[in-house]
């Protein structure tokens, strides 16, 4: 009996370790030590397609800077996230606006991603507890549930991770009541140095079938030594131009 109990405990711990390890590698691929990305975004809502282009600079989970390049109407809008705070600069009104935590779940610029997604404040490594629920070839399905003290917006995330590249091909997000809210689909995985990243993302809200957001990553630079100037409040105006 003791033997089986010990075997069971060991197996459980190993599975938990494996889940943590997979999520950690996935997160490393998505963030690196620092990452610069040039992105194109297509937003379909109300049968109307809008296009955006933007640049994103981030370092770890605490520092992030985003600048909109296109369309001309929105060019120069910048976002900065430091620790758990977020600001936005709008050139049209020449104001820096602090985004309250209560609005982190709001849609970002009319897309199907949230403010939280954009600045990636919450971390799947630090804020969620992973558990392997299925394995199929190299693809592992992991359920992420929020840690007790984590200030996160999702009730649960189910992610399918290809352990050949440690990239996700599908994330399903659920709210606190367990209702499916949206699905992230990832394709076209490319290798940049030692990192793999999907370069095509599609975000589909579960309750609006005729609405989606596509993100195409045009350029990626990992660990390129992003200047710390991007992660100061003054950057909002300075790099807006």
């Amino acid at each position: 009996m003791k033997y089986f109990l010990a075997l069971f405990v060991t197996f459980t711990l190993l599975a938990a370790d494996e889940a943590h390890e997979i999520i950690k590698k996935l997160d490393e691929n998505m963030r690196g030590e620092s990452i610069y990305m040039s992105l194109s975004m297509k937003i379909l809502s109300m049968k109307h397609l809008r296009e955006m282009r933007l640049e994103s600079y981030s370092q770890g989970t605490k520092k992030s800077f985003v600048k909109i390049l296109y369309p001309p109407k929105d060019r120069g809008i910048t976002f900065l996230s430091l620790e758990n705070q977020m600001w936005q600069y709008v050139p049209k009104i020449e104001r820096v606006i602090k985004i309250p935590p209560s609005m982190m779940l709001q849609n970002w610029m009319g897309s199907n991603i949230t403010n939280d997604d954009m600045v990636r404040q919450s971390s799947i490594v630090e804020d969620y507890e992973p558990k392997i629920i299925q394995k199929s070839g190299t693809v592992v399905t992991i359920e992420l549930t929020p840690k007790e003290d984590a200030a996160v917006v999702w009730g649960k995330i189910i992610t399918n991770i290809d352990t050949a590249t440690y990239t996700s091909n599908k994330d399903i997000f659920y709210d606190d009541e367990g209702k499916e809210v949206r699905v992230f689909l990832y394709e076209k995985v490319k290798k940049f140095g030692k990192y793999y990243i999907p370069t095509y993302w599609k975000i589909q809200p579960s309750d609006k079938e005729d609405s989606y957001t596509e993100i195409l990553i045009d350029e990626v630079q990992y660990d390129s030594g992003i200047s710390q100037e991007y992660f100061k409040k003054s950057a909002l105006k300075r790099f807006s131009r």
Binding site: I43, M46, R50, K73, Q88, I99, P100, G110
Partner: protein
């Protein structure tokens, strides 16, 4: 039997006086309490409808459940034209509402920002009357924003200050602007005053690209009693993708809360009435117990059981009628007086602001129908109170009762 009952009432003064006083007190308390409870509920509803919610509102289906710009009403003017021809509609207007971020120099707050037609709004809601500082909007107010007093406090702004707005326009594109605080309102509803601000639609529509679109259309009816009938007429002229809802659906939570409150109120009253019922019955029983010999003799000389019942019935009928005849006009007058001149308890609105109480006034409701059923219930309870004493007397045989000591 009636004159016999009258003699008994005069002879057993203690029992008669007790029954009279208890019936009087319970009738008065019952009538006044029900009037106060109904009056408070009606007042809460009327206030809620008066502040902002319309008697009838038209939405695109799914707007209320899912929300978002996908479910805005398109071609609003065509719908308004149809509504204008419906009998029973007193006034109507369209509103465009969006949730955005308002930001002062140092503070930010999420707010529902509504584009309204100021002149039409004056006859549909009381938001213009809720003005405390500055001025209400006009069609040509431009970037003037009319803000709730709690939101003003949260943002730490004052009249003429600027607030930045960011949000999503009606096509989901990014919208941002600077507004100037021109007016501050206080409805008394804490949540509303904390989360709501208004702009003239003329200006707001340009920013939000919402010309001829609306979040919903709000309608005032001639007579609130006929709201369902008017709503049916409206529903008939609307396209299938639109729905027309009355205040009963729009304020379902409040209606349900008031129903629960009423139930608890009636349970409390029922407990009180049960106590009164038993006290009257016990007094009746004690009285009857002391008269067993009398009833025995009556039955020995040929008075039937039904006559005995009639005797007890007349006794309680006379006493109840006398007590109710005094209590009902007094209770009715109290209800009528306070329905016109509500009781004012300073600070009650502040204390119960989260429950939709926006005034320190507690109005009563005067309704002849309510008064009638209240009185009828007291009568019924009093009549029921003679049943047990009657059955108790009947448990004795006439000879046995006539020898009872």
């Amino acid at each position: 039997m009636f004159s016999f009952a009258l003699k008994n009432i005069l002879f057993y003064k203690g029992r008669s006086l007790t029954t009279f006083v208890l019936t009087f007190v319970s009738t008065l308390l019952f009538v006044v309490y029900v009037s106060m409870m109904d009056g408070s509920h009606k007042s809460m509803l009327q206030n809620a409808i008066k502040i902002y919610t319309g008697a009838i509102e038209i939405y695109h289906k799914d707007y209320r459940d899912i929300g978002g710009n996908e479910y805005l009403i398109q071609d609003t003017s065509a719908i308004l034209k149809k509504i204008s021809q419906i009998e029973g509609v007193e006034a109507y207007t369209s509103r465009y509402e969006t949730f955005g971020l308002l930001s002062s120099k140092n503070n930010s707050a999420a707010s529902m920002v509504a584009g309204i037609e100021p002149e039409k709004e004056k006859s549909l809601s009381s938001i213009s009357e809720a003005l405390t500082e500055g001025e209400f909007l006009t069609e040509k107010s431009g970037n003037c924003i009319y803000m709730g007093v709690e939101l003003v406090k949260k943002l730490k702004v004052k009249l003429a200050d600027e607030v930045a707005f960011i949000g999503a326009a009606s096509d989901n594109s990014f919208a941002a602007d600077i507004f100037r605080v021109c007016g501050i309102f206080k409805t008394g509803s804490f949540e509303f005053d904390l989360s709501t601000s208004f702009l003239s639609r003329d200006y707001f529509d340009t920013l939000m690209l919402s010309k001829n679109k609306a979040s919903y259309i709000t309608i005032k009816v001639d007579d609130l009693e006929h709201v369902e009938a008017v709503n049916e007429k409206i529903a008939r002229v609307l396209d299938d993708n639109l729905e027309s809802l009355t205040w009963k659906t729009l304020m379902k939570t409040m209606v349900e809360a008031m129903e629960v409150d009423s139930i608890f109120g009636y349970i409390s009253l029922a407990l009180f009435l049960v106590v009164i019922f038993f006290v009257i019955m016990i007094y009746g029983f004690i009285n009857v117990s002391s008269r067993i010999k009398e009833f025995g003799v009556l039955r020995c000389v040929g008075i039937s059981n039904s006559n005995i019942f009639s005797l007890l019935f007349y006794e309680i009928f006379i006493l109840s009628t006398l007590a109710i005849a005094v209590a009902a006009p007094i209770g009715g007058y109290i209800c009528y007086y306070y329905s016109i001149n509500p009781i004012v308890i300073e600070g009650i609105a502040e204390m119960y602001k989260d429950y939709g109480i926006i005034s320190d006034e507690i109005p009563f409701d005067f309704s002849v129908f309510t008064l009638a059923w209240n009185i009828l219930l007291i009568y019924v309870l009093n009549f029921l109170s003679i049943l047990y004493p009657y059955f108790y007397i009947n448990s004795f045989r006439p000879i046995e009762a006539s020898r009872h000591v």
